[in-house]
């Protein structure tokens, strides 16, 4: 049995991520208070609560992966605001636009990697940040790289996600030592060093919840 990811699992992942955001909201707020404006927790909670509501209430559940991600994207874009809204919105929007996704209700590890690659590039296109500027990209890119490598190497999904998570964690921790060059923290200059980036933290949990979803199913 190929451990592909089903539409239901992707939906479960997003619900799990919404719950996770509730749990880590205070941490995100604290991290943002240290080098930003203390709203990243509230922003993510507002957005992911709306996503949860949509997923639970929708009279017609998304019929394919692309539609699911498009809904998530539009919900985040229309409810989050700040920097995180358009950035996470772009992540899911571009992921939804991954070639050959239309009609899919199951995605392979390869496809999942392609989606995350598209998403991460969407974030970069939107926000114009580079690696090492202390943003969510410093989690997204290393994680996607690892996921792609794992997919190419033919690892099954749980193992691929373990590697992804490992890379995401390393990326996350690397943001601590970085000086911010994009977003609000950049105004602090060198004073931004020594703090973990809030957006990178919320991005990291995209992968913890993804792994948890797959492991729960396994």
């Amino acid at each position: 049995m190929r451990p592909d990811m089903t539409l239901a699992q992707l939906r479960a992942w997003l619900l799990r991520y919404a719950d996770c955001i509730d749990e880590i909201a205070d941490q995100l707020t604290e991290l943002d208070a240290a080098i930003g404006d203390a709203d990243h927790g509230a922003n993510m909670v507002r957005g992911m609560s709306k996503v949860r509501m949509h997923l639970l209430d929708a009279s017609e559940p998304a019929e394919d992966v692309a539609a699911l991600f498009r809904t998530v994207a539009m919900t985040l874009i229309s409810s989050v605001g700040g920097a995180a809204g358009p950035l996470y919105g772009s992540f899911f929007l571009r992921a939804a636009q991954t070639p050959a996704l239309a009609g899919c209700t199951v995605v392979s590890t390869q496809q999942l990697a392609a989606m995350c690659r598209a998403g991460a590039e969407g974030v970069q296109n939107r926000g114009k940040a580079a690696l090492g500027e202390k943003t969510m990209l410093d989690v997204l890119f290393p994680a996607v790289d690892a996921l792609e490598r794992a997919a190419t190497a033919g690892l099954d999904l749980p193992d691929a996600l373990a590697a992804t998570l490992e890379a995401a964690r390393t990326g996350l921790h690397a943001t601590i030592a970085m000086e911010a060059r994009k977003g609000r923290a950049s105004y602090l200059g060198p004073r931004s060093i020594g703090h973990q980036d809030p957006g990178a933290t919320s991005s990291y949990h995209l992968f913890t919840t993804l792994a948890a979803t797959i492991n729960a199913a396994a």
Binding site: A42, S78, S79, G81, G85, G127, R191
Partner: protein, 334 residues
């Protein structure tokens, strides 16, 4: 998400602070404005005003009177208030455009923050489907940020919004409104100091700790810490520090005419703001600069943050005429 400790704030549920406040605002200024709640937009009572360019601005809440206090005749057609310190969503811009555009195009006044820029860009992309001509003007007047491309929008936003609103009222085309507003934006510089952090309702405690005897120089308006921390000093010395940075960057020369503005950050009383203005005015005059107009009060704030920011706009005849043009909003009136 709820604060563990009681807050010294006149709020109900922190999650509803923005909505409660906007409702009160709409009730208090019912003759001037109308509130739509979802998505959240505050528009001129008489919107849409046909036959003129429409001027819209959005920003996070917590900067009151920015932008709600500037909605009205001669200034903004609509304000899009985001959550506290959070730029509004594209949907809010779209709703504002739909509620107020009057057939001559729409200009969005955007302060240069990642969130502000990203959301307004998205709004413009999404609005491309509509038959409305759209343009934006970027405000980035904060000289505390050395890299010009990353400069934040501060008090300059108020002045640019006034100029844009007056130009629109005077029958300028969209292109002309954008041109003169962008010129105002290019001619304005600001810098601020904080003497305390603010307390955002959702966080429930000061965003940063500022020990007595220190102040944050070069703060933005989102309650975030500034560029550096120095020992507190006299108001006059603070003014000199701020004006030096502002005037140097603006390359102010003797004989030039300016509008000088002192905005409180929310927790500083008028008495102190006028102490600041007193020295600012005298310093400018001592440099041979002509202070044609002034503005002193709470115009762009960060909730209850103590402190002030200085803004200088280089005036020319057209900008002065547009500044002096009639305006009738909850905050500015003449």
């Amino acid at each position: 998400m709820t604060a563990a400790e009681p807050m010294q704030k006149l709020i109900n549920d922190p999650a509803n602070a923005v909505a409660d406040s906007l409702r009160g605002f709409a009730l208090a200024h019912a003759s001037m404005v109308r509130l739509y709640e979802s998505p959240c937009v505050l528009v001129r009572r008489d919107a849409p005003v046909q036959g003129k360019v429409t001027v819209i601005s959005g920003s996070g809440s917590g900067h009151e009177p920015l932008n709600t206090g500037y909605v009205g005749r001669g200034m903004l057609d609509a304000a899009c208030p985001g959550d506290i310190f959070t730029s509004p969503t594209p949907d809010q811009y779209l709703a504002a455009i739909d509620a107020t555009h009057g057939g001559q195009g729409v200009v969005l006044i955007v302060k240069n923050y990642a969130g502000g820029v990203l959301n307004s860009e998205m709004a413009m992309e999404l609005a491309a489907a509509r038959a409305v001509e759209l343009a934006s003007v970027l405000v980035s007047d904060d000289v505390a940020v050395p890299d010009k491309a990353r400069r934040r929008g501060l008090g300059g936003a108020v002045l640019v919004e006034k100029v844009a609103g007056a130009a629109a009222d005077a029958g300028y085309t969209l292109e002309q409104v954008v041109a003169v507003s962008q010129r105002a934006s290019n001619q304005v510089r600001s810098m601020g100091v904080a003497l305390s952090s603010c307390t955002a309702p959702m966080l429930g405690r000061p965003t940063f700790r500022l020990p007595a005897g220190t102040m944050e120089v070069g703060v933005g308006i989102h309650g975030e810490a500034g560029r550096m921390r120095i020992e507190t000093t006299s108001a006059d010395a603070v003014v000199e520090l701020l004006l030096e940075a502002v005037a140097a960057d603006l390359e102010l020369r003797p004989g030039e005419r300016v509008l000088a503005m002192v905005t409180g950050l929310g927790g500083t009383p008028q008495q102190e703001l006028y102490i600041v203005y007193n020295h600012l005015h005298r310093m400018l005059e001592a440099q041979g600069v002509v202070v044609e107009r002034s503005l002193v009060g709470d115009f762009v704030t960060s909730l209850d943050m103590a402190g002030a920011a200085v803004t200088v706009l280089r005036l020319d005849d057209e900008l002065l005429r547009l500044w002096d043009a009639p305006v009738w909003t909850p905050t500015l009136r003449w």
